[in-house]
Structure formats: structure tokens, C-alpha cells
């Protein structure tokens, strides 16, 4: 070895812009928020209270009841996404990536359209469609003689959360589809041809050849779904309002945080309790991500071509 290696400045140059912007605009404000959770409003400005806000959040039955309700709803919201959105996304991508499929570009574009719509539009249109008064859904069910199946899905406690989760699935299924589609296309033709020569086609080709190769992409999607769902807020807010009705049955962590942070109706906003909830959300998400990074991602095999 001829001496020590030269200093590798290029690593710093590559990293610096991203790290600087990210640290200044994201990490510093977030740490500021976590810091807020250790204070409370006192007689003169804010006073340091240590972990007292967390003691209130988990100890006071009024707060802890709302918190566990929101967490449970959030878990159900996530489960529906994992069971419906991701398998449907993978299936659509597998169909789309079939060689010589005509109109593949059209299908891909059309299926992704809901994902590009804003929550303002999605909330408004599904409320219209499912509305018992003007709604299109009752009329359509009537047309095929199933009128009795209709219920005001968004207005009933037992259905509202599931309905919203399915609307969210409808909106976001394009994301897993796109990522899996890109992963499937990056599989070299030689691999597929070799499989075909060995007589492995169709479903068994997908399961034995393609699926192992796209597992890292499926892993990414699962963790993105987890993070997205535990940060979700907008859809519930635009369709059910900050109170996440009926009777808090669609309340998830995001809406709970919003109500606490900014206040609603007669209750004043409490940035310190809000920050405590934000910190709890942060811990939940961090735990999930650690499980993925250290438990799952390391076991995935990557293949270079």
C-alpha cells in the first residue's frame, strides 16, 4: 500500500446539500417540537414539567382512552392497507409487466390517476358517491337489485373506518403498483428466458423467479405503508372533520394530534400535549421502522445484474 488513501472530499460534496437542507428545515424544527412536549403552559410563559405530559397522556383516563382508541383505529387502518392495497398493487403490476401486453401504458396511467388527486377532491367525491341522499351508490345498487345492501357507510360507527380505509386504498394503490412494476421491469430478460427454457412459466415463474427478486421492493412498500398510515390525517379530516365522527370511530393518531395541537370547537389548543402525542407517534413509528431495518431488511437478499 502506497501511503494512506487520499482524503475523499467527493463524499462530502455528494452528501452536503441534502444533509444541510434536511437538517435545517426538518430535523431542527422536529427537535424543537419534541422539546415542547417537556413543557407546559405556566402562569408566566412556559414551565419545564419533565415527563408530566406523558403521565397525563397515559395515566389520565380521558386522555388515555382517546389515545388507545386512536391507536387501535390506526392499526386497523394499516391492516386493511396491508391486506388489500399491497396485494392488489402487486397483482396489477404483475399483470402490467407481462411482455407484449397491449395498452399497458394506458392501464398504468389510468390506475395511477386516483393517487395524483388531492384529498380535497377525493373526500368530496366519495362523500357524493356514498351519500344516502344524492348518492350514486344507492342508485347503482338499486339498478342491480341490491338496494338492501346499501347503508350510509360513512355515517355508521361500525363501517366508517373500514370505508375510509378502502377509499384510501383506492387512492394509493398506484404507489405499490408503480414500485413493483419498476422492480419487475428491472429483472433482466436473460433470467426470464432461462426460466422459460427450463419450462417455468406463468404463475410458477412469478412465484419462483420474480417474487424473490422483487421482495426488497415489497419490503420498501410495506414500511412506506406503515409510515404513511400512522401519519395519515388528511382523508379523515376532509371527509369526517377534526372530530373524526361518528363518535370518534374514525379517529386516528393524526386527527387526535391535530385536535389536541390546534384545538377544536370550545377546547383550546395545547401545543405541549400535542407535542407529547407527536412524540408518542414518533416512538411507535420508530419502533416499526427498526423492526423492518434490523429484523427484515437484513434477511432480504439482493441480486446484482
Amino acid at each position: 500500500m502506497a501511503g494512506r488513501r487520499a482524503r475523499r472530499w467527493h463524499i462530502g460534496v455528494f452528501l452536503a446539500p441534502a444533509v444541510l437542507v434536511y437538517t435545517a428545515i426538518m430535523i431542527v424544527p422536529l427537535l424543537g417540537t419534541l422539546n415542547l412536549s417537556l413543557f407546559a403552559r405556566g402562569e408566566e410563559g412556559r414551565v419545564f414539567v419533565g415527563l408530566a405530559n406523558f403521565a397525563t397522556l397515559f395515566g389520565d383516563p380521558r386522555w388515555s382512552g382517546a389515545f388507545w382508541n386512536a391507536l387501535g383505529n390506526n392499526a386497523w387502518f394499516f391492516l386493511i392497507h396491508m391486506l388489500v392495497q399491497n396485494p392488489v398493487g402487486v397483482a396489477l403490476a404483475a399483470l402490467l409487466s407481462a411482455p407484449r401486453l397491449r395498452m399497458a401504458a394506458f392501464y398504468r396511467t389510468a390506475i395511477f390517476v386516483p393517487t395524483i388527486l388531492s384529498f380535497v377532491i377525493v373526500g368530496f367525491v366519495w362523500k357524493l358517491i356514498l351519500s344516502p341522499l344524492w348518492g350514486i351508490a344507492p342508485g347503482m345498487l338499486d339498478g342491480i337489485g341490491l338496494r338492501s345492501l346499501f347503508a350510509p357507510w360513512l355515517g355508521r360507527e361500525e363501517y366508517a373506518l373500514t370505508t375510509l380505509a378502502l377509499i384510501s386504498v383506492w387512492q394509493f394503490v398506484g404507489i405499490p403498483m408503480m414500485l413493483i412494476y419498476a422492480a419487475l421491469l428491472s429483472i433482466p430478460d436473460e433470467v426470464i428466458e432461462a426460466a422459460e427454457i427450463d419450462g417455468i412459466t406463468g404463475w410458477s415463474q412469478f412465484r419462483k423467479i420474480k417474487l424473490p427478486l422483487i421482495l426488497p421492493a415489497i419490503g420498501i412498500i410495506s414500511i412506506l405503508t406503515f409510515v404513511g398510515n400512522f401519519n395519515a390525517f388528511d382523508l379523515i379530516y376532509v371527509s369526517q372533520g377534526a372530530l373524526a365522527g361518528p363518535d370518534f370511530s374514525t379517529d386516528i393518531l393524526g386527527t387526535f394530534l391535530y385536535r389536541t395541537f390546534f384545538g377544536f370547537q370550545l377546547q383550546l389548543g395545547d401545543p405541549h400535549m400535542g407535542a407529547a402525542i407527536a412524540t408518542a407517534m414518533f416512538a411507535i413509528i420508530l419502533a416499526g421502522v427498526c423492526v423492518y431495518l434490523f429484523g427484515i431488511q437484513r434477511r432480504l437478499r439482493r441480486y446484482q445484474f
Binding site: 452528501l15 390506475i111 395524483i116 388531492s118 380535497v120 367525491v125 358517491i129 409510515v227 445484474f305
Partner: protein
């Protein structure tokens, strides 16, 4: 059954499934658009009917275009989205390359640090961000939005791009080094073209939440001159909540630009994929 007939049947089945799903995906958009060009009475009488000569009515669009400054809102949204997107892609790809290519002290720690931002919504820091923007005199400027959206988009871009860059062949990069290319040239001329499909994917995913965001425009740039289209249409819906013609027309207009932008990127995506396949 012959092989050809079986593959024919399979292809018909694939088309049937895809067409069915396309109908589900587009139906609500279809409902908005057809009703936006119908008269008020026709909207309520038969929401699913196509507009006829009798029920065709552009009154909603007239109201929208008379009321708001929609062209300016479009322009603001466009500037913010394109500028943030360019910064996210450039900075994100650079950082992803450093993380996936080099072994250096603190590499995985840095990866974890940058990935943190995927899981925490930047909104949690809003109060502090607002204080910073006030201190910097950036309130009611598009720059404030661009900065926030760049920070918001970077973590996911770095995460996805470094995943993809790990798949780029080492032999190719080493061949470049032997030919005397600098590390910058290897990044810009060898690696970036190969991850173009991933870049297009990241572009689509970064662009959508920026375009559709309501939160930061409302808090950081609510002035008339800096309103984005999403904020503009939300304000509009609030004002015209019972005027369905106007609301549906505003929603149709809000869908259009993001759809066009998506179509542009989706063509880039196809080109990127075909270019990336040839090594």
C-alpha cells in the same frame, strides 16, 4: 388446448381484470367531470347521465373563472412544484450515491439519519418552521414553500434511490474508474442514466404531495399573490359550498394540471426504462 390458445385466453383475462380496475379507478373522476358541465337541475336529477344538449351548462366554469385568480394559482403551484422537484432529485441522488457507493465512517448512521424523515411528518415541526420563516423574512414567499418541500421530499428520494443504486453493477463503475473518470463523472454519466426509471418514480411520488398540499400554503404563504391551486380551490369550496356547479368545475380544473404533469413524467418513465435496459 394449444399453447397459443392458452396464452390468448390468459391475455384476455389480464385485459379484463385491468379494464375492470381502470373503471373503478376512473369512475369518481368521471362523475366530477361530467357533472361539472351540467346544469344544476340535471346534476341532482340524474348524476350519472352524460350531458346532453339540453342539460349542458358551463355556468360553473364561468363562476370559477370570474371569481378566483386561477391562472396565477396554477403558476404558483407550478413554480413551487418544479423547483422543489428539481432540488429533491439532484440532492437526493447525490446523497444516495454517496451512501450506496462508498464505505466511510458513519455511513449506515447517516443513512438512518436521512431515513428518519420518512417516518416523521414534517408538519409536526410547523410551529418552529413558521418561526424560522418569520425570522428569515420568507413568509408569503414561494421560496419558503420550496425549502420546506425540498426537505420533505429528500428522505424518501434518498431511501428509494440508494436502494436502486445498490443494484448498479460494480464492474461498470470500476471500468469507469480505470478509464480515468472522476467520481463526479461516474455519478453523472454512468450511474444517473442507469437509475432513470427510479428517478422518474421518485419524481412522481415527490410531486404529488407537493402539488396537493394544503397545510404549508395555508400557514406559510396564504397571501393572494402566493396562493397555490390546492389552497385556492379549497378556499373556493368553502365559499361556494352550496353552488355545486362551481365546486365541481373548480375540482375539474384542479385535476387537470397535475394530470398533465403526471402524463409528462410517465412518458419520461417509459423512456427511462427502455434506455436503462440497454447496458
Amino acid at each position: 388446448m394449444s399453447v397459443a390458445r392458452r396464452s390468448m385466453a390468459r391475455s384476455i383475462a389480464a385485459h379484463a381484470v385491468l379494464i375492470a380496475y381502470v373503471l373503478i379507478a376512473l369512475f369518481p373522476v368521471f362523475v366530477i367531470v361530467i357533472n361539472s358541465v351540467k346544469s344544476r337541475r340535471a346534476i341532482f336529477a340524474d348524476p350519472l347521465a352524460l350531458p346532453t344538449a339540453e342539460t349542458f351548462d358551463l355556468v360553473g366554469y364561468h363562476t370559477v373563472l370570474r371569481q378566483g385568480d386561477f391562472l396565477l394559482y396554477f403558476q404558483n403551484s407550478m413554480i413551487v412544484t418544479v423547483a422543489s422537484l428539481a432540488l429533491v432529485l439532484l440532492f437526493g441522488a447525490m446523497a444516495a450515491f454517496a451512501l450506496s457507493e462508498y464505505r466511510f465512517w458513519g455511513n449506515s448512521l447517516m443513512g438512518l439519519y436521512l431515513a428518519l424523515g420518512i417516518m416523521i411528518p414534517i408538519r409536526l415541526g410547523t410551529v418552529v418552521i413558521l418561526q424560522m420563516m418569520v425570522a428569515g423574512g420568507l413568509v408569503n414567499t414561494l421560496t419558503a414553500l420550496v425549502l420546506v418541500y425540498t426537505a420533505q421530499g429528500l428522505p424518501l428520494a434518498v431511501f428509494i434511490l440508494s436502494e436502486f443504486m445498490r443494484g448498479v453493477s460494480d464492474d461498470l463503475k470500476n471500468a469507469g474508474r480505470i478509464d480515468g473518470l472522476s467520481e463526479y463523472a461516474i455519478f453523472f454519466r454512468l450511474v444517473l442514466p442507469l437509475v432513470r426509471p427510479a428517478m422518474a418514480t421518485v419524481a412522481v411520488f415527490t410531486m404529488i404531495p407537493i402539488w396537493n398540499d394544503l397545510w404549508f400554503p395555508l400557514i406559510l404563504a396564504p397571501s393572494e399573490a402566493t396562493k397555490t391551486i390546492t389552497l385556492g380551490s379549497q378556499v373556493f369550496i368553502g365559499q361556494f359550498v352550496t353552488n355545486w356547479n362551481a365546486v365541481l368545475a373548480a375540482l375539474s380544473l384542479a385535476i387537470l394540471p397535475v394530470l398533465v404533469m403526471y402524463l409528462i413524467f410517465s412518458r419520461q418513465l417509459i423512456r427511462g426504462i427502455t434506455a436503462g435496459a440497454v447496458k
